[in-house]
């Protein structure tokens, strides 16, 4: 036998005991050729294109799952940012979103990303209408995800967009108040948004991409946790990094295999593997638990940023070796509600909002799935976005904000989203106002690229 029994058992252990899975196979579809002079025609073109390209996505993913014994948790679709398809009214854009929702339902995917606008350097008329349409759209549709890019390292930060997003997030929470503000879980504000990200809610099919492409997001915090635990308390940090790297290699190879198989069977180009460690609320599938296994009493205490930096870098090194095409967000995710260990750390008082912000400077993807009090002013949310965008812009990396001003809740209360979105305690924020700063508006200039300290 060319493969040893030990290796086979290692793979089986990863899959069965350590929750190893492929988190998402995302089919990116360009909608450029759907444009039409009238809205109805556009919608029927979009519907036809998505349903014909993605018709076999779910069956193919299920075939691969069965043959290789690898669970593929989500099958998803990303499309060209809808704001690029023309200057429609807010109602028009909501109508397009309904078309996306229906097409997604027909082909059996649980999320479709691309109700998006790229406004890092200013707005077009169409983009303003799309932003206006976000709260209603996320309330009325079930599967549509929205993202807005408000900053890039090349352009700086569009503070008018940042301020607008503060209000849009509040409104989205209000429009889905009956469901704990779940609309906000489908809305991401980005700095340096990647064009080939397979993960929701921030996935869209970038303007530089081709007709259609298969992108794969791997997972595997449970596997990395297992490895760190097995090394014991005496292994030094170099050894730790080395083992994490090797494990990441194996996880990524699996993602690459699934991506290539899916690409071949769908007759669509293979895009990238996203090397993110994506946690789930399942016990043992947590990023926080990895950091704790490294020797921190609780995630969030001093040393957390360093531990996370080590983890993130080792994952990237192993992954980059395993796949020729790496892209998307590629880093450890630290979504609070989706990670049982993070939730535990927040409720025990070890992990604060400010520490989370610090952690985002060394990993992807940002302040993610954090519930904040419902009476948070929109200017404070805008300021949170501005801080996060600044970290991304200065460090030339992707950052994002996905916060949920939980309707009717105050700090310490709990929100329940259910499923992979999990549950989380509402986190306390700084109560001093940022309004004077964010209300100034304008564009924060792009940062200098030399003098790099």
């Amino acid at each position: 036998m060319t493969i040893s029994t030990r290796e086979i058992l290692e793979t089986i252990r990863m899959l069965q005991l350590e929750n190893l899975d492929v988190r998402t196979v995302t089919l990116g579809i360009s909608l450029w050729d759907c444009t039409a002079p009238d809205l109805e025609k556009l919608c029927s073109n979009i519907h036809r294109k998505i349903t014909s390209y993605a018709e076999r996505l779910v069956p193919v993913a299920e075939e691969i799952e069965a043959e290789f014994g690898i669970p593929i948790i989500n099958k998803r679709i990303s499309v060209t940012p809808v704001s690029l398809l023309g200057a429609y009214t807010a109602q028009g854009f909501t109508r397009i979103a309904h078309t996306l929702d229906e097409a997604a339902q027909e082909v059996g995917v649980n999320f479709i990303g691309g109700f998006s606008a790229l406004v890092h350097k200013g707005f077009t008329r169409g983009e303003i209408a799309l932003l206006e349409a976000i709260p209603e759209t996320l309330a009325q549709t079930e599967r549509v995800c929205s993202s807005v890019n408000v900053a890039t390292t090349q352009a700086g930060i569009n503070m008018d967009a940042v301020l607008a997003m503060g209000e849009i997030i509040k409104e989205t929470a209000r429009s889905t108040a009956d469901r704990d503000g779940i609309g906000c879980a489908k809305l991401v504000v980005f700095a340096n948004a990647p064009e080939d990200n397979p993960f929701m809610a921030g996935a869209y099919h970038g303007p530089g991409e081709s007709e259609a492409v298969v992108n794969v997001g791997v997972s595997g915090p449970g596997v990395v946790h297992g490895v760190v635990k097995k090394l014991g308390p005496d292994a030094d940090l170099g050894e730790l990094a080395e083992q994490i790297k090797k494990t990441s290699f194996k996880i990524t190879r699996m993602g690459e295999l699934v991506g290539r198989m899916a690409s071949q069977r769908l007759g669509v180009r293979f895009g990238i593997v996203d090397l993110s460690l994506a946690p789930t609320p399942a016990v043992g599938d947590s990023i926080a638990n990895i950091l704790e296994a490294m020797g921190l009493e609780r995630c969030g205490t001093h040393g957390t940023t360093a531990a996370l930096a080590l983890l993130n870098d080792a994952v990237k090194k192993g992954g980059a070796m395993a796949s020729s095409y790496v892209g998307g967000l590629s880093g450890a995710f630290i979504p609070v509600s989706e990670d049982a260990g993070m939730v535990e750390a927040v409720s025990s008082g070890a992990l604060t909002f400010d520490k989370l912000e610090a952690m985002t400077s060394v990993c992807s993807v940002g302040l993610d799935m954090i519930a904040v009090p419902s009476d948070t002013p929109s200017e404070t949310i805008a300021a949170i976005i501005a801080d996060e965008a600044a970290i991304g812009v200065i460090n030339k990396k992707t950052t994002a904000v996905r916060v949920i001003p939980a309707p009717g809740k105050k700090a310490g209360d709990w929100v329940e989203f259910g499923g992979l979105l999990g549950r989380a305690p509402v986190m306390a924020l700084n109560n001093f106002s940022s309004a004077g700063f964010v209300r100034r508006g304008g564009q924060i200039p792009a940062p200098i690229q030399s003098l790099g300290n």
Partner: protein, 162 residues
């Protein structure tokens, strides 16, 4: 300029089961993937450009399906994990033999005080589909009180070999 062939226009170059591409044409990787997905071969031919007289070929649906045989797994790893008892190997081999599956290699060990048996089998001559065989093995596992999985060999190769 050289001809650029993308997914949008590749169907125009199709002649039966091959894609006849003009010399020096640029074929995007999307277009290549499309052809591969449909099981069409690419062939470079001396021709100036897609002749205008020839109408774009309509895509006959039945010709577009990928040939079945290509994707049928051949070597499969059957793993059995559970409490050791009499008759596990016999029970599993019986299912395999019934469906004309050849056992290439077999080994056993223990994993955290559990019995673990690994079989490498060739299912090229299998009388049932891979899915049915998988189901039958799982059912047999339930009868024997062990966990039986069948997975294509590539997953293990890909993960542990460069």
């Amino acid at each position: 300029m050289q001809t650029i062939i993308t997914v949008d226009n590749i169907a125009r170059y199709r002649r039966g089961n091959t894609i006849c591409i003009p010399e020096r044409a640029i074929v995007t990787s999307d277009a290549r993937a499309w052809a591969r997905g449909k099981g069409l071969a690419l062939q470079v031919q001396k021709m100036d450009r897609p002749s205008r007289e020839q109408p774009p070929l309509t895509l006959a649906k039945e010709n577009l399906e990928t040939p079945e045989e290509e994707n049928t797994p051949v070597r499969v790893v059957v793993s059995v994990v559970g409490r050791d008892k009499v008759g596990i190997i016999a029970g599993v081999s019986q299912v395999l033999a019934q469906h004309n599956v050849n056992i290439l290699d077999i080994s056993q060990t223990t994993m955290q005080d559990l019995f673990a048996m690994i079989m490498l089998v060739d299912i090229a001559g299998c009388s049932e589909s891979f899915e049915t065989l998988k189901k039958k093995l799982e059912n047999r596992g339930d009868e024997l009180g062990v966990d039986i999985k069948a997975q294509r060999e590539e997953i293990f190769k890909y993960m542990h070999r460069i």
